[in-house]
Amino acid sequence: MNLDFTQIVPYIPFMLEGIWVTLRFVFFAILFGFIIGTVLALFKIGSIRPLRWFADAYTSIFRGTPLILQLMIIYFAVPQLSGYDISPFLSAILAFGLNSSAYVSEIIRAGIQAVDKGQTEAALALGVPYRQMMTDIILPQAMKNILPALMNEFITLTKESALVSTIGYLDLMRRAQVVGADLYRNFEPLLFVGVLYWSMVMGLTLIGRFVERRLRVSD
């Protein structure tokens, strides 16, 4: 057993920068996934059949195939089809966002449908229109079910983001590999970014707990 962490010291700034690179695309992927996911969820609970069908098919496809395959298709196959040379950054946001939206839409749909049907009836009986009922009565209650699950999804996405190293995007994971190749030592840089990933996830977890606690106050 020989471990020597002193050798990675010069590479630390390079690896730390990976946090920023990873977080940047994770942030946009989450945002993108959340917006699309919300729209899909509205399709799913709505009464327009073709939209419902579309949202279900979409979810089935993105949950039913490997994320790495989706990433590869977007990065390698899109240029082949369209001639547009898509950057790793954009591919990553697209793949992770589209994939995440399938899960997010399920989380939101389930959260909304878990709200007692009596709430809808009470609002309708008072003459409250659909949109106001959704925003004022149903969604605030659904949030309690949705937020913890959404936080989990964001944590998963953050960890899975390491997959983008496979398309050459210089994220945390990729940087560890670069340093490893440079030093002919892999354990130390991998362990180092492992700690960084763990810290990021812990950060998200703490934010999630804080939000949950705030929500519970209103009970």
């Binding site: 009596g118 003459g127 229109p129």
Partner: protein
């Protein structure tokens, strides 16, 4: 006030209401009774279109509810509904439960809505609960708030679907008392209930439903003392 003509409701092939015709006059209190599954709730829910009638017509003040051109939301503003399980909005305080619909639907000012709400809370004996959240209330208190919430819209007709069935026995009276006051104040009411005492004392008429058929429609005392049909007699024997 409300007139039902040949109302039929089917869920798929299951005919839940068959050809019901009746009328409720302004200020009248009507009790709807019958065995479980006889269609009482469905009948009540057709009156504010929470269920869509399969056939027949329902008129409220001569306006046809089943006409596709009728604005359902507008009709519902005039009809209050009280549910067995209250369905208060748990994320809103008692006061906000009462002011929400008047402000959002009737565009009442906040001050006016609050004044009205506090007035109603006093009427149902819950002035001190204005800032409480529904989860902190007892069942009887929740139901009184739910009644006040419906009244806040100043409806012309109030529908009650077994308003005391989910309550502990010691809380039934406080809710029935509120409903009695309401009846005496001249409100038009349709009440699905298993409280035969209430039906006999307070109601002007009793409707007896069985298997979706309106079997009897008459004055309470004669219904309870001398039911005209075998089915009603059997039902009354079981519950009294």
């Amino acid at each position: 006030m409300i007139k039902v003509e040949n109302l039929t409701k089917k869920f798929g092939n299951n005919e839940v209401l068959s050809n019901i015709s009746t009328e409720i006059k302004k200020g009248e209190v009507v009790s709807i009774i019958g065995p479980s599954g006889s269609g009482k709730s469905t009948f009540l829910r057709c009156m504010n279109l929470l269920e869509k009638p399969t056939n027949g017509k329902i008129y409220i003040n001569d306006k046809d509810l089943t006409d596709p051109k009728t604005n359902i939301m507008q009709v519902r503003e005039q009809i209050g509904m009280v549910f067995q399980h209250f369905h208060l909005f748990p994320h809103l305080s008692v006061l906000d439960n009462l002011t929400y619909a008047p402000m959002k639907v009737k565009k009442m000012s906040k001050a006016a809505a609050q004044e009205k709400a506090l007035d109603l809370l006093e009427k149902v004996g819950l002035s001190d609960k204005a800032d409480a959240y529904p989860n902190s209330l007892s069942g009887g208190q929740k139901q009184r708030v739910a009644i006040a919430r419906a009244l806040a819209m100043e409806p012309e007709l109030m529908l009650f679907d077994e308003p005391t069935s989910a309550l502990d026995p010691e809380m039934v009276k406080e809710v029935l008392d509120v409903m009695k006051d309401l009846a005496h104040s001249g409100m038009t009411m349709a009440v699905v209930t298993h409280e035969m005492g209430f039906a006999r004392e307070v109601a002007d008429r009793v409707l007896f439903l069985d298997h979706g058929v309106l079997v009897e429609d008459g004055e309470p005392n004669s219904f309870f003392d001398a039911p005209k049909t075998e089915r009603a007699a059997t039902f009354l024997e079981k519950i009294l």
